[in-house]
């Protein structure tokens, strides 16, 4: 576009200094912002240096080795002697045994039965590694429960296919166990009940076994009343018969001792004192007896060996004495017990747990010997931690070897291993040993390899991690001490004596260290904590806080940084009401798939936010996802370790997870909490992330339930035995003040921006709505009043056209003007503004035949000058202006001049419509003309506040033009400038909707952009020039409505369009700031409404209005670009021009 070079030009900067200065300011400003942003992010990566509270870290340091107390008598060691008979019949059997000892073992080979549990991933891992060393597998799939003896079946199809792929025979266990409680009635009632009930049970059992492709079933019934012995016998026989028929086996699990009697196993009164039974002994129909050669001292006993060598051998002697050993499978222990002798709680732990605990307690450093050696050949040590004194008894590969030797010597049919997942990994090597171990084998057995398995110490769901690992060592030797024989005349004793020459013993010099999780915060039995994840949320968090306040309960909220940022008020409320808060990362992404610095950013950004909102830090952290499961994979420990070691957090997991986020129903949430209550003492609920109405409904009832069952709901700090200030230290002013200031300011600034944005959106929506309604109402009023265009006011008119390179269209234009049916006198003046094409010639052709037409020539001086020239040449008082590319209808001039009948009317705007509808762009403009320009004019004319009488079609009073000082050159929009000046002079400006002129709209984007840039820049110039009109009471609606409307709607709003569109796109892609959609919908709806109204008034078809929707996306960005370009250009002017403007602005009013 051409740049006019007149000095008076609005925004012009003749010295060219404004832009360089402005640019300098801009660059410096941008640099500062950039530095601030970088610095801000830097603080988010600067660790807050949390001081881990004293009582959390040191569990590890509080483990202490204790001196081995003098070994107590092992009261259970000699139980077997009561069954070791010296009777005559026993002698007979001894002979039988002697014969049996000479026989060759079963060619089928040794049975190796692995005990498997579903709930421990270690069990699965062990099975996968050692499937080839096993022949049979015993998962806990069946249980008999309740008075009505329900058969509960929980098979695992994966294990079924795994077993068949690895040629393992499945022998599922059938126990009378529910949770941890044995249910003797379940078996007794079945055995004593109706035959019908038993048959039904057997049918169900068989069907299940078949579907599992099991080889049979292992029955493990405990705590039964021996009074019903005969019924058990009958029942078992019945089961056995059915299994046999189906080609399956019945195995029967026996705890050595009472079970011999309870179940009439041998049928020998000598072996079973007090047993008088006329039923056949179990050994006559049960395929195998699975005897538990462990739990000499169990969880409920006082600490002692799990399976001492003499105890185990004693029972072997009993069994060998009475039974066919080949029918028997000896189950060997491969686990450990940790008795807390203070709290009387016993844990079953793994061999590795036992190693880790010893190692961290420093048992190997005390100088006390810990060994698997004579006479018991069981490992045992003591340690202490804050909650009490512990005794650990463990079975290892060495005890396993010794047990295995004697069980094989007794020529048992096989062995069982209880259980997969808790064993010393070297038992698998020991099992394959042939002959006596060589020195190199002994050496290999002495090396305890530390692996990636995770071990656990302590109780509670607040954990600390230590991932260090170190191999351990034990000195393994062949033992030369002999265990004394009990009865030298027993041939089996001789066999044992042979074995005793080469038992193994191990002296632990170095316990292995495995990655370890320290658990804390188990609290008292009746202490429980409630935690909420993912908040705060504006809808649910307040409801939950209300409930907690009403119930007087303190909870802990694990907050997401992103939500803290959105709802800082809620964070403050949580803290103010005495609850605790923890860090739950910024965006709730899975830490396992995150790099270290990402995780640091997630945690520290959230921490900084919490600090700036609450003035406190938090030392609590809960990882998103899987906080309810104990990590079993070393990879899961890494983020916890980072959070704990690098960032200083205390990691809080939980065990009571009712999965309320999945909305299982209020009742179900409550029921799950009840079911899980005994599993742990930290409850997880959610206060955000969706519809939490179920959680809100369940919470008060959960609290009531906990109170009823006698629980005290405590805060995490109470659970850890700390103060709230230790967990959430108030910020120390001297600690990292700069970082906190920058982070805080950054968050506040961002908040300010976001807050302003929303305020602006709401404000602008309100304005748009108000404006739309006002415009619609005014336009409607104008439309209804109507204008009598046929009235008789027919003054003489001069029609003025400024033409510059209009050769292509000028003749058509002239024809349309001259073809008017206007009855009054008319002259047409065309000013050729130095066109370089054939414009002059084309006009000349016409002028020759048309006396009403005059051609005026001038040098190219711009449109304003041309118009001035034309006005000067015109002879009549009423002057009609039209653009060279605009076509009149015959009635146009008549309609146009009507309002001028009133002497106060200084100018009339016609109804410009787009004539060329060939392109999409043009069609858009057509709609824009109808609903933007013309509708506005209809409305504005009601209040006499039309801001522009378009040069394309308008009629003005000559006296008014001269009063206004004519067309001025200092803006690109001389028509707007003139219109506003006329307003100053007190003229009325009218609109004649029936004076239709068809103008030619640009058909390309670039053409349109050029045109609109001219308009926009011109309009801005005029607004600036006439800025004193705005909010000037003298000018009424113009100053208070139409001019501010241009400022805000046509410049301000259009300028922010790209930002809003950008946010819209962001919201579409990432789902944030969904509020912007409302705004968008409202604005679009209003646009559509106005378009429809305008189309109706202008007699266009309604469906055209829908073009407004695509227009919004194509047209608005273009307008925005144009506006920004104009602003940019305006700034590129000069400061000096500003002062000058001030002066020019006053010119018209002087005139």
């Amino acid at each position: 576009m051409s740049e006019p070079d007149r000095g008076a030009f609005i925004f012009q900067d003749p010295h060219g200094r404004r832009w360089p200065r402005l640019r300098r300011v801009l660059v410096v400003g941008l640099l500062l912002v950039a530095v601030a942003v970088v610095w801000f992010f830097r603080t988010l990566l600067t660790h807050p240096e949390l001081k881990t509270p004293a009582s959390v870290v040191p569990l590890k340091k509080q483990l202490k080795a204790a001196i081995n107390r003098t070994e107590q008598d092992d009261p259970n060691a000699i139980n077997w002697q009561r069954y070791y008979s010296e009777s005559k019949s026993a002698q007979d059997r001894l002979d039988k045994i002697k014969r049996q000892l000479g026989k060759t073992p079963d060619p089928k080979g040794e049975i190796r039965l692995g005990y498997y549990v579903e709930w421990d991933p270690n069990s699965r891992a062990s099975l996968e590694d050692h499937a080839s060393s096993l022949t049979h597998l015993a998962p806990e799939w069946f249980s008999l429960q309740g008075t009505d003896s329900r058969l509960i079946v929980e098979p695992n199809p994966h294990l079924v296919s795994f077993a068949s792929a690895h040629h393992l025979t499945l022998m599922p266990l059938l126990e009378n166990l529910q949770g941890n409680t044995w249910q003797p009635e379940a078996v007794e009632n079945l055995a004593n009940g109706t035959a019908d009930k038993r048959s039904r049970f057997i049918r169900d059992l068989l069907a299940q076994l078949r579907s599992m492709k099991a080889g049979g079933v292992i029955i493990d019934w405990q705590q039964l009343d021996p009074a019903y012995r005969d019924n058990y016998s009958d029942f078992l026989q019945q089961i056995s018969d059915a299994l046999q028929k189906a080609g399956m086996e019945l195995w029967f699990s026996v705890a050595p001792g009472e079970d011999f009697k309870t179940f009439n196993i041998f049928g020998d009164p000598d072996a079973q004192p007090g047993v008088k039974s006329n039923r056949p002994a179990l050994e006559t129909f049960v395929n195998r007896f699975v005897v538990m050669l462990h739990d000499e001292n169990s969880e409920t006993d006082a600490p002692g060996p799990i399976a001492s060598q003499p105890w185990l051998e004693g029972w072997l002697k009993v069994i060998v004495q009475y039974a066919d050993p080949d029918q028997w499978i000896g189950v060997l222990g491969a686990y450990a017990y940790d008795w807390n002798t203070t709290t009387k709680k016993t844990e079953t732990i793994t061999f590795k747990d036992a190693m880790s605990r010893a190692s961290y307690a420093g048992v190997d450093a005390t100088g006390e010997k810990t060994e698997t050696g004579p006479p018991r050949f069981n490992g045992q040590y003591q340690y202490s931690e804050p909650s009490g004194e512990h005794t650990v008894s463990f079975l290892d590969a060495i005890s396993f070897y010794n047990h295995l030797r004697v069980v094989r010597a007794a020529e048992f049919g096989g062995i069982g291993i209880t259980r997969l997942g808790t064993e010393d990994p070297q038992i698998w090597d020991v099992m394959e040993l042939k002959g006596l171990p060589t020195p190199s084998v002994l050496k290999a057995l002495g090396a305890i390899k530390a692996g990636d398995s995770i071990t656990n110490v302590g109780r509670g769901e607040i954990v600390t991690v230590d991932t260090s690992r170190e191999d351990g060592a034990r000195v393994v030797t062949i033992d030369s001490t002999r265990l004394p024989p009990t009865r030298p005349d027993d041939p089996f004793e001789a066999t044992l004596a042979e074995v005793h020459k080469s038992l193994l013993r191990a002296n632990y010099t170095d316990f292995a260290t495995y990655p370890i999780l320290y658990h804390q915060g188990a609290g008292g039995e009746h202490e429980v904590a409630i935690t909420f994840d993912d908040g705060p949320d504006p809808e649910w968090t307040p409801k939950i806080l209300d409930i907690l306040r009403a119930k007087g309960v303190k909870a802990c909220f694990f907050l997401l940084g992103s939500n803290c940022e959105d709802y800082p008020g809620l964070v403050q409320r949580i803290v103010a009401e005495g609850h605790e808060i923890g860090n739950h990362t910024y965006s709730h992404r899975n830490l396992a798939v995150m790099s270290e610095w990402q995780m640091e950013l997630e945690l520290t950004a959230t921490q900084r936010l919490i600090e700036s909102i609450t003035g406190r830090s938090t030392t609590l952290f809960r990882p998103p996802y899987n906080a309810d499961s104990n990590p079993t994979d070393i990879a899961e420990l890494a983020p916890l370790r980072l959070a704990q070691e690098q960032l200083g957090y205390t990691v809080v997991l939980e065990k009571i997870d009712p999965q309320d986020w999945a909305r299982p129903g209020t009742e179900e949430i409550i029921q799950r909490v009840r079911d899980l209550r005994n599993e742990g003492n930290i409850i997880l609920l959610h206060d955000a992330g969706g519809d939490r109405s179920e959680t809100v409904a369940a919470l008060p009832r959960i609290i009531d339930y906990l109170h009823t069952r006698g629980d005290r709901i405590v805060s995490l700090s109470e659970l850890l035995g700390m103060t709230r200030d230790e967990l959430m230290p108030p910020i120390d002013a001297s600690h990292q003040p700069l970082e906190r200031f920058v982070a805080g300011t950054g968050f506040r600034a961002w908040h300010g921006i976001v807050g302003f944005f929303w305020a602006f959106m709401i404000f602008s929506t309100g304005l748009v709505v108000a404006r739309t309604l006002l415009v619609a109402w005014l336009a409607h009023r104008h439309h209804r009043t109507g204008i009598d265009s046929t009235a008789a006011f027919q003054p003489s008119v001069s029609v003025v056209i400024a033409a510059f390179n209009e050769g292509k269209v000028i003749q058509k234009t002239l024809r349309s003007v001259l073809g008017t049916d206007y009855a009054g006198e008319m002259e047409v003046i065309v000013v050729n503004d130095g066109s370089r094409d054939d414009t002059a010639a084309k006009i000349g052709e016409f002028a020759a035949t048309e006396p009403r037409l005059r051609l005026v020539r001038q040098e190219n001086r711009g449109k304003a000058a041309a118009l001035r020239n034309a006005v000067a040449q015109s002879r009549h008082e009423i002057i009609v202006f039209l653009d060279a590319d605009t076509l009149f209808q015959p009635c146009t001039i008549g309609a146009l001049v009507q309002p001028l009948a009133h002497p106060l009317v200084g100018a009339v705007s016609g109804n410009a419509r787009v004539g060329n509808l060939r392109t999409f762009i043009a069609r858009f403009q057509s709609l824009e003309y109808i609903c933007g320009f013309n509708l506005d004019r209809r409305a504005y004319t009601e209040w006499n506040c039309i801001t522009v009488v378009p040069g394309a079609i308008s009629a003005l009073r000559r006296s008014a033009i001269s009063a206004a000082g004519g067309f001025s050159d200092d803006t690109l929009a001389e028509d707007t400038d003139l219109t506003l000046t006329l307003h100053r002079l007190g003229y009325h400006i009218e609109y004649a909707p029936d004076a239709v002129a068809w103008t030619e709209a640009p058909e390309s984007y670039s053409g349109l952009a050029k045109q609109r840039f001219r308009w926009a820049f011109g309009t801005m110039q005029c607004l600036w020039k006439h800025r004193d009109l705005v909010f000037n009471p003298r000018f009424g609606a113009l100053g208070w409505f139409s001019l501010p409307n241009i400022w805000f709607m046509q410049i301000g709003l259009v300028a922010v369009t790209p930002l809003v569109d950008g946010i819209l796109l962001w919201s579409l892609l990432f789902g944030h700031m969904a509020g912007v959609w409302y705004w968008f919908a409202i604005v679009l709806g209003l646009d559509l409404f106005l378009a429809a109204l305008a189309c109706r008034m202008d007699g266009e078809r309604l469906h055209k209005a829908f073009l407004i929707l695509p227009m919004r996306f194509i047209y608005r960005p273009l307008l925005a670009w144009v506006i920004w370009r104009s602003i940019f250009r305006a700034f590129k002017g000069a400061f000096v021009a500003w002062g000058k403007l001030e002066r020019t602005a006053s010119v018209p009013s002087r005139a």
């Binding site: 009505d148 009635e185 009697k261 007090g274 009823t708």
Partner: protein, 383 residues
Amino acid sequence: MRFRFGTFIAIAAASLLVACDPSSTPPSAGTPPPSPAQPQAASTPVPANPLQRLAIPQHGIYTGAYIDWGDKEDTVTLEAIEKFETMVGKHQAIVASSSYWGEQSFPDDNLRLITRHGSVPLVFWSPWDKPYVEGRGPDKYSLTSIIAGEHDAYIDMWAEKARAFGSPLIVSFANEMNGEWFPWSGKLYGGSTPIPGSKPVHFQGPETFKKAYRHVVDRVRAKGATNVQWVLHLMNYSLPQEGWNLAAEYYPGPDYCDWLGFSLYGAQFADDDWTQFFPLLDWPYEELRRIDATKPVMVCEWAVGEFPTLGSKSDWLRDAFRLFKSPKYPNIKACVYWHERWENDDGRYSNLHVNSTPDALESYRQGVADPTYLDHPIVEPTK
């Protein structure tokens, strides 16, 4: 409570009384069905001033249970109560548990749990020391030491906490004293030795007991624990069943007990004889009625083992629920089942569980379902 000898005597008595079992007359004939119990709306007692106590229901009998609380009879859990209630199909108006003197504590947690659950606690407050084994004779909490005031501090502490607890609480202090297995049995304190000069003749054993009993009640009352109601809790048949050892001898006076009560057990061991329910209830009820006909009667413990070869537990339970509500025994206002299973030294079990068999459970469920058996306590302010 486990004991071996009560039933032995019971059988002797039963053989005398079996002839007049009222069950031989049709129970429904002239017996108007007891008006439905006060609606189950009785609100959960809330610990607050003024103190509250359990009202004696005009119609109906509170149903309650002791539920397998372990060796010290005091590991009360909500889960077990709820499981039991689901099993028998009825909420419990009374839940029983023990407080042993050897623990030197007040069972605050248990009582609050039971109260919050909407039941009234019945506490067996037993003055003995560890190990809590029957037949060991008097220990440091002997009746004489109580009378001598040696444990006043403990009693006062217990009373203060009971008052602070504030909700209804029924206390059975030193129960089954007319037996010989507990260390507070009258037999162990001079038994039948007459007190010189007393007229009519009083006996040393029962007199010692009453002195100790009154001492304890007086001290507790002095602390203002009016929410405590006292039940004099005997064995249904004395051992020995001799004049000096009968219930009347142990009666401390109408001011010292709010309820009269006894334990009532059928066969508990495999070598017991089976006794029908009627004689176990009838004579003992009359014995109490003769002492004081105005006092409500509580069957503080009742149960029978599962011995299919001896007799039908389900019949026994059915009789029990039929007879408790019989118009013949209008004073019976509460019955508390002893739900426990334990292993005996010989490896055999005593299974007193209501669900020892499906039949027994069904019988209990049907019996207790009668609206006469009140499932919620009715609570009133203390006088």
